[in-house]
């Protein structure tokens, strides 16, 4: 009996089927009181679905959930909140136009429904901020908060509802290293109070650092649960992917060409809100090198990429590609291969077929068109060649792109953008949301482009991959380049400090 009391939450044989996918296959796991349980798995392994079931957003097809020993039915988030479950989604569930405090009290009936009295709520909120050392200004509209602060706000929102079991879905993806430390401190405080935390991640380092036990999920079922003390990195990676993986720096031949391909001088641009996002960017990318752009999300990386490919107007400065002004080059799509950060919205036409997506840059040219009529035979042949070359896993070239997995969607983008052998490649968050296998092949494709002699700009918020792939690394902070260093010799601590805007040294 005493054992039962220790278990905060137990799931038994949870199965969830979506059309065509078995997302959760008889998953059983438990989370003890006062522990941090790591939930490790690749994207699409079923972690988020499982947690959405726990939070009442999905109903399981079968299986049972026990909270503190009692079987419960969680038919809505309201019920989950009542049971003391709090969840911080990977994509925050905040109402942008409301203030921080309004977001926190949303859904909590106030004492007098006809008067929205925020004063007591503010007091309680501020004391929580202090208690967990996660300060957020309660009066500020949420869209003005940095992503890190939005994360704090989500956690505070759950704590305000007195969550005893807190689910954090990929919480560190948007944090700077120091914010990550702050988060870990808060998590340790929570567990000391007897609360439990489920920590979802696919990053081994932090899972090993913060958790007490780790449950690994692959393809919808539990591979195993190990105490963190006994877990090792290679073992976890093998459990997660199903085969040994390497994350070491990629070997490469030394660059042969040195002509500058992309030259940016004093480039300035605004973000979507009309605020300065790029401040005097000077950057040169040469043929045959990969320049990695490190930085916390939202520090001008998106605007940088969009300026180069002509999707965003500059407010000043010049951009030249192989000596041509970028505004002229844009008319010719063969100059730049662009892998956009949001592949589903910018990179692909989801409802068009694989073959059509592969030809959208060239459809108006022969052999794909003749006298204004598309020639589908040529389009299909072209598609089948690229599907083979880039190892795109699809039933046929006539399948709508929306039905492919994230990794294969990205391969469609890569195949289309690289097949014309452009002199410049811009890869913006090219591996975001992909599983390890797909990440590896995207890395290999980019390395191949580099070895062919293309200039590659590799923008990523994952420090690990920037360091393993780049010949040169620059760090962006608030629209400025904080420093530049050699890829071989880069020091992760120096980069981390630059990501926070603390310039320590600049290695030429």
């Amino acid at each position: 009996m005493t054992q039962n009391i220790e278990i905060a939450m137990r799931m038994e044989g949870i199965t969830k089927r979506f059309p065509g996918v078995l997302a959760n296959d008889r998953i059983s796991l438990d989370c003890r009181k006062g522990e941090v349980l790591g939930l490790l798995g690749e994207n699409g392994a079923g972690k988020t679905t499982l947690m959405n079931i726990l939070y009442g957003l999905h109903q399981p097809d079968s299986g049972k959930i026990f909270i503190e020993g009692k079987e419960v039915k969680i038919e809505s988030p309201a019920k989950a909140i009542e049971l003391g479950i709090g969840m911080v989604h990977q994509h925050f569930k905040l109402v942008d136009t409301l203030t921080a405090l309004e977001n926190v009290i949303l859904g909590i009936p106030s004492e007098h429904p006809m008067v929205l009295d925020l004063a007591p709520a503010r007091k309680r909120f501020l004391s929580l901020c202090e208690e967990y050392d996660l300060y957020v200004d309660p009066t500020v509209e949420t869209w003005r908060l940095s992503v890190g602060k939005q994360q704090w706000l989500e956690i505070l929102k759950a704590l305000y509802r007195d969550a005893r079991l807190l689910v954090l879905d990929e919480p560190t993806a948007v944090l700077t290293p120091s914010e990550g430390e702050q988060l870990f401190k808060a998590i340790r405080k929570l567990t000391k109070e007897g609360r439990s935390v489920i920590f979802i991640s696919h990053k081994f380092g932090e899972v090993l650092e913060i958790t007490d036990r780790i449950t690994v999920i692959r393809d919808g079922h539990v591979v195993g649960t190990v105490p963190t003390k006994e877990a090792t990195y290679p073992e976890l990676a093998r459990m997660m992917v199903g085969r040994p993986v390497s994350m070491d720096r990629k070997p490469r031949p030394s660059a042969t060409k040195i002509d500058p391909v992309l030259v940016m001088e004093n480039v300035q641009a605004n973000n979507d809100r009309g605020l300065p996002a790029l401040k005097n960017i000077n950057l040169t990318v040469k043929a045959g090198e990969i320049v990695g752009v490190a930085g916390v999300d939202g520090n001008g990386q998106l605007e940088l990429a969009e300026c180069i490919v002509g999707l965003r107007k500059r407010t000043g400065g010049s951009i030249r590609i192989q000596g041509h002004d970028v505004d002229r080059v844009m008319a010719d799509p063969s100059f730049v291969g662009y892998i956009p950060a949001d592949r589903q919205k910018v990179g692909l036409f989801l409802t068009l077929t694989v073959a059509e997506n592969l030809v959208v840059k060239d459809y108006a040219k022969p052999p794909f068109t003749r006298r204004g009529v598309l020639r589908y035979q040529a389009i299909r042949q072209h598609a089948n060649r690229l599907i083979k070359e880039y190892n795109i896993r699809t039933p046929s070239s006539e399948v709508q792109v929306v039905h492919l997995s994230g990794g294969n969607q990205q391969k469609v983008v890569v195949a289309r953008e690289m097949s014309a052998q452009p002199p410049l490649v811009i890869a913006s968050q090219a591996t975001r949301g992909l599983d390890l296998g797909a990440v590896e092949s995207v890395h290999n494709f980019l390395l191949k482009e580099r070895n062919r002699g293309a200039a590659v700009l590799f923008i990523s918020t994952e420090l690990q991959e920037v360091m393993s792939l780049s010949d040169r690394i620059i760090v962006m902070f608030r629209g400025e380049i904080m420093g530049e260093m050699d890829g071989e010799a880069a020091d992760i601590n120096v980069i981390g400090q630059m990501m926070l805007g603390q310039v320590t040294e600049v290695v030429a």
């Binding site: 988030p77 309201a78 409301l98 977001n103 949303l106 859904g107």
Partner: protein, 308 residues
Amino acid sequence: MSPDIIIDWLQASLRWGAPLILVAIGEVYSERSGVINMGIEGIMLFGALAGIAISFFTGNVLLATIGTMILGALFGLAVAFLTVSRKTNQVVTGLMVNLMALGGTNLLFALLSESRHVRVERYPLLFPESFSNIPILGPVLFRQPVSTWVALILPFIAAYILYRTDWGLNVRAVGENPQAAATAGLPVIKLKYQAVILSGLFAALGGCVLTLAEVGYFASGGMTAGRGFVVLAAVVVGGWDPLKTALVCLVFGAADAAQLRMQTAGSVIPYQFLQMLPYLITVIALAGVVGRSRPPKTWGAPYDPADI
């Protein structure tokens, strides 16, 4: 121009603005919850007829008003069922309601009466006659039916509810980010239903006021004459804020009153051009604010609880 004409015009501006304000208040709530109830023109028309009919048979304007509001709420319920539960296209649904109302009211009115006009009792004045003798303010403010005063006070109450109550916060959250609202434990569908039902209720009330306060008769052939559409524009121009929207409605009411006065004054401008005036102002006002006013983020988009 003599002061009498101006006083008369100001008085008429309030009277013509009142039904627009009433319709607009409901529409603001509906659109804040994310649902554009485009059917308000039609519901207004039904409300106009219902007000007349109930008043004609019972001789009681209060009964007529309450009955009309219940009818409007039922229309709102139907629109909510279609657009929220069945996720039908909001524009098409609204058009359907409007076309149905045009034909439906003509048919019902023909069944009700053989003449093309039915005259009934109008709303009483709120203040005693003697108040009207106060210079300027008297005729402008106090020679007004109850409904005008309701329409002038209601926007303040509506703004209070929207910004200062739980329910108002919930409605705003639902229209901005229904997924976030749902994860915070809010009943998103229920809130949308409530907001849309309110828009139906107020649209019918606006129609009822148009007949029982302004004209005192019903005329077949679409007597609301696009005022519901003007309200849709006013809500956009007013930036989905009850007070600003009400102000815009008053401007449209003033334009409406002006064209009527110019018509009867025997202007040299053909009356068809004058009739165009309020709508022309609507178009200009819309063109002026496009890009500057920011709609609720899920404005007009259906909500699927399965999307997280």
